[in-house]
Amino acid sequence: MTRGSLFLRKALWAVVTIFVVVTFNFFLFRVLPGDPAKAGIKDPRLSPEMVAALQERYGLDKPVLFNTGEGGLFDSQYFRYLGALSQGDLGTSYAYRNRPVSSLLGTALVNTLWLVVPADILSIILGVLLGLVAAWRRGTKLDVGALMFALFTWALPTFFLGILLLFFGSRYLGLPTGGRITIGLDQGLWATAGDVLRHLVLPTLTFALVLLGEYMLIMRSSVVEVFSEDYILTAKAKGLNTFQIIRRHGFRNAMLPLVTLIALNLGFTVSGAIQVETVFSWPGLGKLTVDAVAQRDYPLLQGAFLMLAISVVVANLAAELIYLRLDPRVTEA
């Protein structure tokens, strides 16, 4: 099978997967107990007329799957949703009255990327380096120290690490206690950029530390395994130095499991860093999604999960393509 048709087949599967996820999520949220017409407005004084008006506005007065009454078989919540979706319309949020889901998600996504991308990059670079060094120096104090550090940061609950860093960082380093910017600073672009960076330090560091441990552990064990292979021994026998062995023979083979992990983590990037966002009052996607669940905000939930599904599927697709480059044997799969 050629690489081109392999890619096509994988891409087709990705589209099918996303469609299944869209459908599954649509029904999943509607199985939850609770009524969005009431959940948005949690007031017992809500009149029956208003509940009816809200249900009509949201289209919740229609049947979920097939409309056996007037309006035709496909005048239902599900097919209306698919119809709007095919035109790129994610709908209007229930909880944030009158606001399009796409703009809510868009703003939150940008905020989340500001936080998560630097943290991802930092944790991947540091994790990989630390893992490599630890594997190369296996059994030494350096290895044990790095291992302990990685296990510790990995095991520490995110919100607790966040609170600790918030406490020490804000008290002894003068960093801000939360939020995205200093409100009312109004001092031009560069001052604002510096201000945003200062606000980013603690949440990014928290998230990076949390992710780092996993990368380090995977990288270390993967390199340790590769180093025990015969071809490494051969390379040594050929007289290659350490750096050459790692670069030409060790790293590439050890990268395979890491690529899987990175792809998985990047895919989930758009789900945001819920706990970090909460501790540092960062207005990102994670918090938005959690609030949407609490409010039974179907359109917002559907939009958020659609975005999550797409990014996970795309990240996995990307991982498979990288496999193809890293390891020619993968073509057979």
Binding site: L32, P33, G34, D35, K38, A39, I41, K42, D43, P44, R45, L46, S47, E49, M50, A53, A95, Y96, R97, N98, R99, S103, L104, G106, T107, A108, N111, I163, L166, F167, S170, R171, P176, T177, G178, G179, R180, I183, G184, T278, V279, F280, S281, P283, G284, L285, K287, L288, D291, A294, Q295, R296
Partner: protein, 577 residues
């Protein structure tokens, strides 16, 4: 639903924080731009002082974020805080709980009790310079009266029969078909909107991003989930605030909020864990104040006592334990609740024991003559023994007496639910379970999200015991209505309680215009509820706030109530030193 929301006044300190949203609104502030610019010019120096005058910017850290700038759509405490600062109401509640004038200089009722007349202040203007007249008041009241198909709370302050007239620019009359005893309470949340702006839009979908009002502050910028920026209205008819700007910043995490105050990132915070109080008090630059919330709140232990004949035909499941319908069981459980200990351990003392559904913070409406059931586990055991609930199989749990039809639920084993957004819920549930198990009543605790809790609560009445709470209007009428028979099918009644004697008093007090007579009726209703025990009210929590005394001084803390949503403090505070 219910509880946590009555955000109105809603003292419930819920953090229904909204999240990242592009809803940034910017409006230029004539008031701030014209002040300060004309400063003295030193010879040789051509620059003028920046337009930030000496009043400075007050930064406040809070847990939530407004959900809507449209007063018809707001439902959170944070919404109402902003409305109070931007808009005026005809009548307002002062910090001691009295009705005092705001836009209405005085008001009176006709002999027959049907027509209320309000005289408005002279010279009130909206932020855009347009004078506020009786036409705006008439327009607003009619809008709220008729908004039941789009607004959240406003229409509930009307009966629908009100005829509103504006005979001259400073007079408004409201005529009803039946007298009402709670006129002032209804006017407290009537945020007067500018007719010339609102009549040109669809009120139900209007975002109101400029928030033109007549209050002491104007909106500068609102970013959903992040902050709200307000500027002092230099032309405020009631006298401009001293400070130039007020910023409300959202800190979702309470510990971060506390740390922000300690570090000086903010000048004042609301809603912090009571465990943080001692830390805050140990800082000489921080003052902690406590008082009754503007919207008094209460925590309740709800018993499902729905009689089968009262079960809502359409939605009712009515699965409450049959033994709970026996007053003796509820009486025993009431003796097995140590309210003071709950206040001391859960609230670190910041609360008062409750009696019935009227919170202690409602002043004259609270019946303080009732001597509560003492905490006495022996007495509780005695009551249950006497009523025939014995532990016949020796497993530590009592069973229904043979004479009672308990179906397959012969053991006194109760389901107990509470909402997952409650800080105190887990400890309250566990403490109650420990006490009740000592009198032979088993408790199975299950935490539910508020929406699911609503669906088991009412009107399905599919629970045994729920731990929840209410925030109250300044008038007790609404909370008292939750215990009438008529509200069982609507879902407002949480207990299924139905007592014709109580209902008769309820409907009588609704139309009673003599204040003392109405107070007496409301007190008698509390006596009935205390005897019938559809609820146990363990406590009413106090509210607390903390501010840096090295930044701003003049915060009002010597009143009975303490609330940020009352703008009086923000109008008078001034920079320290």
């Amino acid at each position: 639903m219910r509880h946590r929301t009555l955000a109105l006044l809603l003292g419930l300190l819920m953090v229904l924080a909204a999240c990242g949203d592009d809803d940034t609104t910017s409006t230029t502030q004539p008031g701030t731009e014209t002040t300060g610019g004309a400063s003295t010019t030193v010879p040789g120096d051509t620059t003028t002082a920046p337009p930030t005058a000496e009043g400075g910017t007050v930064r406040i850290g809070w847990g939530g974020s407004p959900s809507s700038l449209n007063p018809g759509l707001g439902e959170l405490t944070e919404d109402y805080t902003v409305y109070e600062l931007i808009y005026n109401t005809p009548i307002t509640l002062d910090m001691d709980g009295n009705y005092v004038s705001e836009l209405a200089t005085d008001w009176s009722v006709s002999e027959d009790g049907l027509t209320w007349t309000m005289n408005l202040v002279d010279g009130a203007t909206f932020h855009d310079g347009t004078p506020l007249t009786s036409e705006d008041v008439k327009y607003t009241l009619e809008l709220y009266r008729d908004c039941s198909d789009w607004c959240v709370y406003m229409s509930s302050y009307f009966d629908g029969d009100e005829v509103i007239e504006a005979p001259d620019p400073t007079t408004v009359t409201i005529t009803k078909e039946a007298p009402t005893g709670s006129f002032e309470g209804r006017m407290v949340f009537m945020y007067i909107l500018p007719k010339h702006i609102w009549e040109g839009v669809d009120p139900g979908t209007f975002d109101n991003t400029e928030m033109i009002g007549s209050g002491s502050f104007t909106l500068v910028e609102h970013r959903q989930g992040e902050y709200v920026r307000l500027a002092s209205n230099g032309d405020y008819w009631g006298g401009a605030p001293v400070v130039d700007e007020v910023i409300f910043q959202t800190f979702e995490n309470a510990d971060a909020r506390v740390q922000a105050l300690i570090n000086g990132d903010v000048d004042m915070i609301t809603e912090f864990p009571s465990t943080a109080i001692s830390t805050l008090q140990s800082d000489p630059n921080i003052t902690v104040a406590t008082g009754e919330p503007l919207a008094p709140d209460l925590t309740d232990i709800i018993f499902n006592i729905t009689e089968p004949e009262n079960c809502p035909a359409e939605d009712g499941i009515c699965s409450g334990h049959p033994a709970l319908r026996d007053l003796q069981v509820r009486l025993a459980l009431a003796h097995a609740v140590d309210k003071q200990q709950l206040i001391d351990t859960l609230l670190l003392g910041l609360g008062t024991p409750g009696i019935a559904i009227v919170p202690t913070g409602l002043g004259v409406w609270f019946n303080n003559t009732i001597e509560d059931y003492p905490f006495d586990l022996d007495e509780a055991n005695r009551i249950l023994d006497e009523a025939g609930y014995a532990d016949t199989d020796g497993n530590g749990i009592r069973e229904c007496p043979a004479s009672m039809d308990c179906g397959d639920r012969t053991e006194l084993s109760l389901r107990m639910n509470f909402p997952d957004d409650s800080d105190t819920g887990p400890r309250l549930a566990q403490t109650l379970a420990d006490w009740w198990e000592q009198v032979g009543v088993e408790v199975q605790i299950q935490v539910l999200d508020p929406d699911t809790l609503t669906s088991v609560c009412c009107p399905s009445l599919d629970f045994d015991v729920i731990l929840w709470g209410w925030g109250s209007d300044p008038d007790p009428g609404f909370l008292l209505s939750a215990l009438t028979c008529d509200e069982i099918p609507t879902g407002l009644s949480e207990s299924g309680y139905c007592n014709p004697a109580y209902d008769e008093l309820f409907y009588a007090q609704q139309t009673e215009t003599d204040l003392q007579a109405r107070i007496d009726m409301v007190h008698e209703m509390q006596q009935i509820l205390w005897e019938d025990l559809p609820y146990i009210i363990p406590y009413c929590a106090l509210s607390s706030e903390a501010f840096r005394n090295d930044r701003y001084i003049g915060w009002i803390t010597d009143t009975t109530k303490l609330a940020l949503e009352d703008p009086s403090s923000l109008n008078v505070i001034r920079p320290a030193g």
